[in-house]
């Protein structure tokens, strides 16, 4: 049957047409298209990857910023606390110092009072001894000739006075 027997002429032309078409497209057509499509796909993939990374980074940055803020806040709180502590410390110290100073002043005053008391005592003793001597002199002149007995007596008297 005519339909089922291939025509030689048509076979030849088909072969030529296909060969030419194939050579043209295999050289200038398909590689360019396939390469372009794959490149575009890769670019898009890379873009998606990049966007994902960027988003991750952004999220990280946000978390970091939050961390910083928190840190700063805690620092601030600490600083405030420290300042308050320092204030109380200073006050305490000042108070302590003041009391120390006061103590010192009081001590000095005590010492000087003691000293002046001692001085006064010494002076007083001297005065007293002078008076006593004078008294004794007067008494001895009158009552006693023996100087020895006199000074013994004087010392005894003086000691008594001292004990008082």
């Amino acid at each position: 049957m005519e339909l089922f027997t291939p025509e030689v002429g048509l076979v030849i032309w088909m072969f030529i047409a296909f060969a030419v078409l194939f050579l043209i497209l295999a050289k200038f057509g398909w590689p360019v298209i396939v390469k372009n499509m794959e490149d575009r796909a890769n670019t898009i993939d890379n873009g998606v990857e990049y966007a994902k990374e960027a988003k991750e980074q952004l999220d990280n940055a946000r978390a970091e910023a939050a961390k910083f803020v928190e840190e700063a806040q805690s620092k601030q709180a600490e600083m405030l606390r420290e300042a308050a502590k320092m204030k109380s410390d200073i006050i305490e110290e000042a108070r302590k110092e003041a009391s120390l100073e006061a103590q010192k002043v009081m001590d000095a005053a005590k010492v000087s009072i003691e000293q002046s008391r001692k001085e006064a005592e010494l002076q007083f003793r001297n005065e007293v001894s002078k008076f006593s001597i004078e008294i004794a002199e007067k008494m001895v002149r009158r009552q006693m000739q023996d100087s020895k007995a006199q000074s013994e007596l004087v010392n005894k008297l003086l000691d008594e006075i001292e004990k008082n």
Binding site: E7, G9, V32, M37
Partner: protein
């Protein structure tokens, strides 16, 4: 977009059907009719005896034909031709170059218009005058020799260009006797009985020689048009890329890219993996060439209408190319699997059962490719033509029958054409997929062949189911 596409498709399909309807009556008269030969003037044949015998036989066998010759029209539509029909005119053909090599080795190139002539014939029944296309002998003088070419009708090479040589009176007689003998044996009309090596031209017998014929026929021109279309589509996309870089194409180009991606990523790369770039150009060319040929075959007027993929020569070349691609570039392992497959020893030695099956398989695979595409496309065309011809068959039964037949056959034709658009895509896809699988089966290497084999078998069985 989809709305637009659907609208376009339906309009196209209706236009196509209309084209078929209008083109069909033209073709009914395209081939010289019997009447032409009946009114032959007395020739050498006109010896009384022979003539009587002829008329007797004529009455006995060849009933006068009424209406349309359905078979003739269908085969005319499916087959090739030296000119290209135009709608609304059944005598005018776009002339195409005929290139033939005569018996003595000389090449001839002439217009196909020289092979036919328009003749006005009076219809005996209706008395109307109709124009008809009849074959004439084209004579060429070269180097003092006359070459005669003709479009064969009553000959074993019907509808092909043949070179003819006049016979002497004696030879004429002998041939005529032979014709009548053959006709009587076969029970056919002697005026329409072809015998080997001789042609009957209106009662005259000539010796015929079928020259080597590489004419630009309708199918060849359609092939060239399809090639140009495919080149234009592909190079258009390439140009777009060169101009716009990475910008994704839209609309038409986008569809083109979608198809390329569909075939390349979905079929070629999925099957051939890292070997895809090596075979992609061949397979992609196959797909787009087949698809374009399928689709322009569905368009009925000029740039289309040639039943390309429904022609066995075309599918044969495609299948042979796949065969060559598969076997020439096949790996060692592929050949080892054929000549020493992994089967129990008694299956391959001493009787080479498996080898025989495998070698048989090498040839059946491309043969199946060839016949599948050919039969699918030819079947689609045949159904549409037959449905359209129903109108002319029913025309004999009156107006009501004709009206009903028109409605029904147009509806069915539209449906079939839509189905054919789908089939065009599917067949191009199937051809490419199967070619890819055959090629990939021949590209197997030792290591991962088992899993791949399984995969392929699975894919193949799916394909067969589809």
């Amino acid at each position: 977009m989809i709305k637009k596409l659907t609208l376009f498709l339906s309009v196209a399909v209706i236009a196509l059907t209309a084209g078929y309807v209008f083109a069909a009556p033209g073709n009914q008269n395209a081939v010289p009719s019997d009447t032409k030969i009946d009114k032959v003037e007395p020739t050498v044949l006109s010896e009384d005896e022979l003539k009587q015998e002829a008329s007797e036989l004529h009455e006995e066998v060849a009933e006068p034909k009424e209406g349309v010759d359905v078979k003739e029209i269908i085969f005319h539509h499916l087959g090739d031709g030296y000119g290209w029909e135009v709608p609304f005119s059944h005598v005018y053909r776009i002339p195409l170059p005929v290139i033939v090599r005569a018996e003595d080795g000389n090449w001839f190139c002439f217009s196909s218009g020289k092979l036919t002539e328009v003749e006005i014939i009076k219809d005996e029944k209706t008395g109307k005058e109709v124009e008809e296309l009849v074959p004439v002998i084209h004579e060429v003088e070269r180097n003092g020799k006359t070459y005669r070419f003709m479009l064969a009708h009553v000959s074993t090479h019907a509808n092909k260009v043949v070179e003819i040589f006049p016979l002497t009176a004696e030879e004429q007689e002998k041939t005529a006797e032979l014709v009548f003998k053959t006709a009587k044996e076969k029970g056919t009309d002697p005026n329409l009985t072809p015998i080997d090596g001789y042609i009957n031209v209106e009662g005259h017998f000539y010796r015929e020689y079928r020259p080597f014929d590489i004419s630009i026929t309708k199918n060849v021109l359609a092939l060239l048009i399809a090639s140009v279309l495919v080149t234009a589509m592909v190079m258009g996309l390439v140009r777009y890329y060169n101009r716009k870089g990475f910008k994704a194409p839209r609309k038409g180009m986008g569809f083109m890219e979608l198809l390329v991606d569909f075939v390349y990523t979905g079929v070629i790369k999925a099957t051939l993996k890292d070997k895809a770039p090596k075979f992609a150009p061949y397979l992609l060319t196959c797909f787009f060439f087949i698809l374009t040929m399928n689709l322009i075959g569905l368009i009925v007027i000029f740039p289309g209408g040639a039943n390309l993929t429904g022609n066995i020569a075309i599918t044969l070349v495609l299948a042979v190319l796949t065969f060559l691609m598969t076997n020439i570039l096949g790996t060692k392992h592929y050949w080892k699997e054929i000549f020493w497959p992994d089967v129990p020893i008694w299956l391959k030695f001493p009787l080479p059962i498996m080898q025989l099956i495998e070698i048989f398989g090498i040839f059946t695979k491309p043969a199946a490719l060839c016949v599948r595409l050919f039969a699918n496309m030819m079947g689609g065309h045949m159904i549409v033509i037959t449905l359209t011809l129903l109108i002319f068959i029913f025309a004999a039964f009156g107006a009501v029958a004709t009206g009903g037949a028109v409605v029904i056959s147009v509806l069915f034709s539209v449906f079939m054409l839509m189905l054919d658009v789908l089939v065009s895509f599917i067949q191009a896809y199937v051809f490419t997929t199967l070619s890819t699988m055959f090629i990939s089966a021949a590209q197997e290497s030792e290591h991962h062949h088992e899993e791949e084999h399984e995969e392929k078998e699975k894919a193949l069985s799916n394909e067969v189911k589809a």
